[in-house]
Each structure stands twice: as structure tokens, then as C-alpha cells.
Amino acid sequence: MGAGIESLCAFHAGERHVTEPTHQPFGVDATLRALLADILGLGDERAAALTADSGLFGALPEFDSMAVATVLTEMEDRLGIIIDDDEIDGEIFETYGNLLAFSLRKVNG
């Protein structure tokens, strides 16, 4: 079946490089809320209601060490930044405001 199938599929066969949708046009704040909603399953309403004082690690039961790690990797992918693990301390994940301030520093260099 090889040749027949390949010729039928040839039109689409090239590998398209598809990445996660980037929310960059909506800004760092919206990108961060969207990725927290994806990872923590917050839903749009809870994600939109996060304030600078909202607690994250230690305050939200879903925010465990795996979620912290996933947030870091997704921040790199979606914000186009590289996070050195030396830059990470517990405070960054204490509140939404801290995480947003860190992200803005990284994005704006």
C-alpha cells in the first residue's frame, strides 16, 4: 500500500511545525493568567479574578511542585524567555503579583 498512500497524502505530508498558541499579543498579564488557568484548571473566571495579593504556592491546593515546574516551562515557551534556575526562589510563587513582576522583568530584559 506504500506508494498509493504516500501519493494520496503527499499534498499534506510535509511536517508543519505547530507550537502552542502564543498569547503574547494580549500582554504578559493575560498570558500568565491563561497559563495558570490551563495548569491549575482555574477556569476563566477564577483566573481573571487573581489580584496581586492572590496567594499561589502554598495557598492553592493544586499548586504543587509539579505545577510550579510546569508553570516555569510554559512561561519560557509562551513568553519566549529563558529562566535560569538560580533566579527562582520561593518568593516568586508566593503571590500572583510577585510572579507577574518577575515575568515582566524577564520579558522586558
Binding site: 500500500m1 508543519r16 511542585s65 515546574a69
Partner: protein, 222 residues
């Protein structure tokens, strides 16, 4: 010993078998419910859908620390070889790193991810958990320790070979391939594989099944 296969098939003859290669490690658990819904939808379209346990995962009797990506590639090739009729492989995320040794009429990949990204996330989870426990560690120190002993990352005991292979693994070229992401140009849905607690998305499952079925038809499976 053969691994358990989760199979959902139409009551009559099937047009082809969709061999589903799940995401790796915990991401597989987070997506399993949605994959099962997609398998039911594929069966309703006349396809048999098979989701095999990878050695060392789920109901497997093999210890995870005894396997690596090479063994998973071989295991999938063996599963595919044992299927009668045409096989279409549908891989998700890290599944795309191990789906190329199996023989198939066509491949379909959803949100393929590099092994280095998966490894980095698991290393970070361990560093974060260590920090909470008052233990100093870093991704570099953990990877160095993994050169000659299994490394426990997010509950997974990974062999030195697994850590080394994962750090370098990229999805390999296969043809014919449809590679698709999430979002407006791809599958409508959320990245459930990232979610801290398992969820499900019936609409996304239906979209996955419809896209796999359409690609199979494009590739001459009727």
C-alpha cells in the same frame, strides 16, 4: 510478557486501527480520560482504537527504572506488527518521541514536544520539592547523579539511559504525517496534559477523533 492493551472497537469490521501513543509519564494520566472519549468516538466512526500500556507504565509488571525510550519504541513496533489491517498512529506530546519505529500507513501527532522540555520540567519539580524539604539540589546536580544511578523525578524512577535519551530526544521524521497543535488552526481545546489535576474535555475528544478520521481518509483508508 505482552502489556495490557486498552481497546475500543466497532461491533462489526473495523476500517483500520488507530494506535494511540499517549503522552509520557504523568501527562498520560492527565489526558487518559479524554483519550478514552476520543477512542469511543473513533469506534463510532468505524475504527478500532488501541491504547497500549508502555512497559513500566500503568498495569505493566516491568519496573520503570528498567526501561528507556528505545525499549518503548520497540514495544510500540511490536504492538503495531501484531495488528491485522491498516494501522494509523496517533501520538500526543512526548508520544511523538517514540512512534517512528512502528510501521504504519500514516501518522498523526498532536502538540509534539521535545524530550528536553519534558525532562527540564520534571527536574524542576524535583528541585522545588527538594527546596520545600530543605534540601539543596539543582537540575545540573540531579542530572550528574543520574549518570550512574536511577533518578526519582516526580514519582518516576528513571534509568540513566532514560534520562540521557530523554534529554536528547526529538520527534523523528515519518511520512505521511499530519502534525497539529491546539488553538484556532488546530484542535480546539485546552492543554489538559499540563493540568495539575485530571480533567476531561468531551468536545476536544470529539475534535481529535474527527481530525484523525479525516486524516486517515485522506491517506486512503476508507
Amino acid at each position: 510478557m505482552a502489556e495490557h492493551l486498552f481497546r475500543i472497537a466497532p461491533s462489526g469490521a473495523s476500517r483500520a486501527t488507530i494506535l494511540i501513543v499517549p503522552p509520557l509519564f504523568d501527562e498520560a494520566n492527565r489526558l487518559r480520560r479524554t483519550l478514552a472519549l476520543a477512542m469511543r468516538a473513533l469506534a463510532a466512526e468505524g475504527f478500532a482504537a488501541v491504547l497500549p500500556d508502555l512497559p513500566g507504565q500503568n498495569e505493566s509488571l516491568v519496573a520503570l527504572e528498567d526501561v528507556d525510550l528505545e525499549r518503548w519504541r520497540d514495544a510500540l513496533a511490536e504492538v503495531a506488527a501484531g495488528i491485522d489491517g491498516p494501522v494509523v498512529i496517533a501520538s500526543i506530546r512526548g508520544g511523538a518521541l517514540i512512534d517512528h519505529r512502528a510501521e504504519a500507513a500514516a501518522w498523526w501527532r498532536l502538540a509534539p514536544v521535545g524530550g528536553a522540555s519534558l525532562l527540564r520540567t520534571m527536574l524542576r519539580a524535583r528541585v522545588t520539592a527538594d527546596r520545600e524539604a530543605g534540601i539543596e539540589s539543582s537540575p545540573e546536580s540531579l542530572q550528574a547523579a543520574a549518570r550512574d544511578a536511577p533518578l526519582l523525578l516526580a514519582g518516576n524512577a528513571l534509568s540513566p539511559a532514560m534520562v540521557a535519551q530523554l534529554g536528547a530526544a526529538e520527534a523523528q521524521p515519518v511520512a505521511p504525517l499530519r502534525s497539529i497543535g491546539l488553538g484556532a488552526d488546530g484542535i480546539a481545546g485546552t492543554p489538559l496534559w499540563l493540568r495539575a489535576e485530571p480533567g476531561e474535555d468531551a468536545a476536544m475528544a470529539a475534535a481529535v477523533a474527527a481530525d484523525v478520521a479525516a486524516w486517515s481518509k485522506t491517506c486512503g483508508i476508507s
